[in-house]
């Protein structure tokens, strides 16, 4: 039946309800586009036959093929747009550099969309005033406590906190430190917030 491949694309995304990005299904899209081409060409010839030979009995078939074409268009754009929404979410979750495993699941045009989106977002955030603007991809949770428990993931040497004390950040050591001092190091992957 027509449009089955297109609906399969939708089902594929529907199955991954947690926002994961499956590999770009180039094959299925190509098949749907080929089906659209075939339907369109059949309609072209039927339309001219209906006009020149007055075969109005062809009209229901023509209308039916047109509906299938519209449905295919709608399914493909829904599939592509839903993927864009998942890709957009990746910028907010992973930052501006995507893990390679995820990049492999994106087609070239999606990577381009991601790059443009990143740029747009960066321009907007810089415009928010002050010297560097405001990075609104940080501060995702309300600040709960002044001090947090952190574990050191790599050797970072000496680290001075506000009251003058010097801490030695050795790999696997754990410390109870002021949160604002750690944020930068957490983002860089030097420290890890331990939530018990």
């Amino acid at each position: 039946m027509f449009c089955e491949k297109a609906v399969e694309l939708i089902r594929e995304l529907h199955r991954m309800s947690d926002g994961q990005l499956p590999a770009f299904n180039e094959d299925s899209i190509r098949q749907v586009l080929e089906e659209m081409k075939a339907l369109y060409e059949q309609n072209q010839s039927d339309v001219s036959e209906a006009k020149t030979e007055g075969k109005s009995e062809l009209i229901p078939t023509i209308k039916f093929r047109h509906c299938c074409l519209l449905r295919n268009q709608r399914c493909i754009t829904a599939y592509l747009y839903d993927r864009l929404l998942r890709i957009r979410a990746l910028r907010w979750e992973y930052g501006s550099v995507l893990p390679t495993t995820i990049r492999f699941h994106m087609c070239a045009e999606e990577l381009e969309w991601f790059n443009q989106y990143k740029k747009s977002l960066a321009t907007y955030m810089r415009s928010l005033g002050g010297e560097e603007g405001l990075d609104i991809t940080q501060d995702m949770k309300p600040p709960k406590s002044l001090y947090i428990e952190v574990r050191c993931l790599k050797d970072h040497g000496e680290f001075e906190i506000d009251d003058g004390t010097v801490i030695l950040l050795k790999k696997n050591s754990q410390h109870f430190l002021p949160r604002w001092k750690c944020e930068q190091l957490i983002r860089q992957g030097v420290l890890e917030h331990v939530i018990s």
Binding site: Y124, L134, P142, W180
Partner: protein, 205 residues
């Protein structure tokens, strides 16, 4: 100066809640955002001058982090709605009369236009240009859903309102009017009280 700071933080807090709970994008508050950014900068500067280890520093630090969180969350709320409803947001801005207040800041407007262009270019490149000639474009206004103005919201009344017209929920009901007393709290359809949110007469909670 600290009184002005307090007022701005309160205004930011109110704008944040309204934007969070409103189904549609509200009027932009660029001036408030600018003031709060300035305030944060001053607070950071003051913090550098405080003697290290002073307990006051921790409290100031917490305050800065809280305000920065509310500001970021406010701006994120707006950006999310701009992205979600981008064709409608742009259409609204385009058809706005010269004197009417803008819903988007100039930077948000630029962001929205870029988002539209980026998405259109993408769809064309990856699929639409391979489709039959009469199907190579999509009407974004039809394809992207509009915000649901009939969603229910919680609100607290700041200024007494009389004769608010409430639409019937079922066929048996008829429309009726309510008076909203100052300080009272209600659960109503956003559409009914939308102008009151804009005017500040009610606060979404």
């Amino acid at each position: 100066e600290s009184v002005a700071h307090f007022d701005r933080a309160v205004l930011l807090f109110q704008a944040w809640l309204n934007e969070k709970f409103s189904p549609e994008l509200l009027e932009n508050k660029s001036e408030l955002v600018e003031c709060v950014m300035e305030q944060l900068m001053h607070m950071e500067e003051n913090l550098q001058r405080v003697r290290k280890g002073d307990l006051k520093a921790s409290v100031h630090r917490m305050e800065i982090d809280r305000i920065r969180f509310v500001l970021s969350s406010y701006l994120r709320s707006r950006l999310q709605k701009i992205e979600k409803f981008f064709p409608h947001v742009l259409e609204k801005e385009k058809s706005r009369a010269d004197g009417d207040p803008s819903f988007l800041s100039p930077e948000e407007f630029a962001f929205a236009k870029e988002y539209l262009a980026n998405t259109e270019v993408y769809l064309k490149a990856v699929a639409l240009r391979h489709m039959p000639p009469n199907l190579q474009s999509i009407d974004m206004l039809k394809a992207v859903p509009e915000p649901c103005l009939d969603s229910f919201v919680f609100l607290r009344v700041k200024e007494r309102q009389e004769n608010i017209l409430v639409e019937p929920e079922t066929d048996e009901q008829r429309e009726y009017v309510v008076d909203l007393e100052e300080g009272s709290q209600h659960l109503m359809r956003y559409r009914t009280i939308a102008p009151l949110v804009a005017s500040g007469a009610v606060q979404l909670i």
